[in-house]
Amino acid sequence: MNNSTEKAEQAVTIDISGYDVATAEIRSEAKRLLTEKIVDAVVGYQAGRRKGSAVPVIITDPAQAEKLLFSPACVNNLSIYLTKAKKEIRAKGKLAVVAKGCDLRALAGLVGESQFKREEVVIIGVSCAGVHRAGIQPGEPLTNSTIAKKCRECSVHIPDEADLVVGKLPPLPDLPPKEKELMEKLDAMTPALRWEFWKEQFTRCIRCLACRQVCPFCYCEQCLCDRGRPQAVDTSPRPSGNMGWHIVRAMHLAGRCAGCAECERVCPMDIPLNLLNRKMAEELKELYHYEAGMKPVEKGPLTSYDEKDDQSFIK
């Protein structure tokens, strides 16, 4: 964080007292849902081993509801536990899930892609001012320097379409966007320079595929990029295959990605993966007025068309 704008920015602490309210409400709701047997399991967050940390948890016993919490450490997008990639969790029966606004968008997307039916899941939405970025010591206050990049530009603080919205949103400080700024800088460059940028980013990739593992939309049984016959993308972690992998991934997420930026958070090599997804989202908005929303839609922008779509690029 040696950027000049960062230094100029004054330290701003974000009031997260509403998170305690959210915690209490999540607990009582989870307890009620489990006691009344409305759901069989609740997917939420509990305290991790280190003080102030949080990890996903699945509880089935109402007595365990007291374990649940919401804090700036609740970074995970829990919607992945509802995809078909996590069969053992789906097998538990009817689920409730705790979701921030960005997570709810992913849930809506998954409903649109028939991964589960909306009525099968109870969504406990959390009013969220933001969560920590990667690499922050657990328990640190939520400030302009510890907040995740995506949260600086969040437009979904309150997950309206959830079955229940818990917590209280504090007054939000006006944080200058970083991702947008970065995107604009890249856009202003020549293609050759951009290539240089991404090449350097992608060549660092070790193909651990954590980005894929954590993505709610990477629920394929077999990833195209793992296929051998025919091989679409070289599977070894070398520059050529890495470039292929990240291009294919961005393309497959275009029009589907809900912007939770989990891929970027978990990347051990700090590759700005969400930048690609974000760029695609901007383009889809520009081209087809499409934005990932909180309500499931029948067809996404790349599974539908309009006869009058722009074709200025076609001769």
């Binding site: 980013q201 679409a232 520059p239 081209l287 779509d309």
Partner: protein
Amino acid sequence: MKHDFEPKIVAFVCTWCTYAGADLAGTSRMIYPSNVRVVKFPCTGRIDPVFILKAFQKGADGILVSGCHPGDCHYMAGNFHARRRFAVFRKLLEFIGVDLNRLEFSWVSAAEGGKWVEIVTDLTQKIRKMGPLTQFTDLADEEQWSGALSNPELKAVYDQV
């Protein structure tokens, strides 16, 4: 006429319109540069962006995707789906840093032999001037991260991440 550089051009075309248009150029004995290699599909709707990626990786210097005009698709809507898919894929490649002059899209009907010739000729000439596309092929030769960034402006942005 001989040129210093003869590019490899790959054309992904649908069988009903553009392939037939190219056939018409043949039966009309229209002469055009021999650089293009045609890969036939039933419909532009079948053409996967992965193929474009693969062709670039395999050394194509320029790529053409061509199908039926809107409303003429033999399968009703395949070209409409393709239009969106490629509009988005172009934007992705552009952001990654691929010069979009190397990727052309066109609608060429079965009656447009002349248009086929014109598009292929123009693209070939354009790519001849641009020179070979080495971005993707160079990557294949690289084993790992070089760690070197030539441009200070780029270095600044890179460090910002």
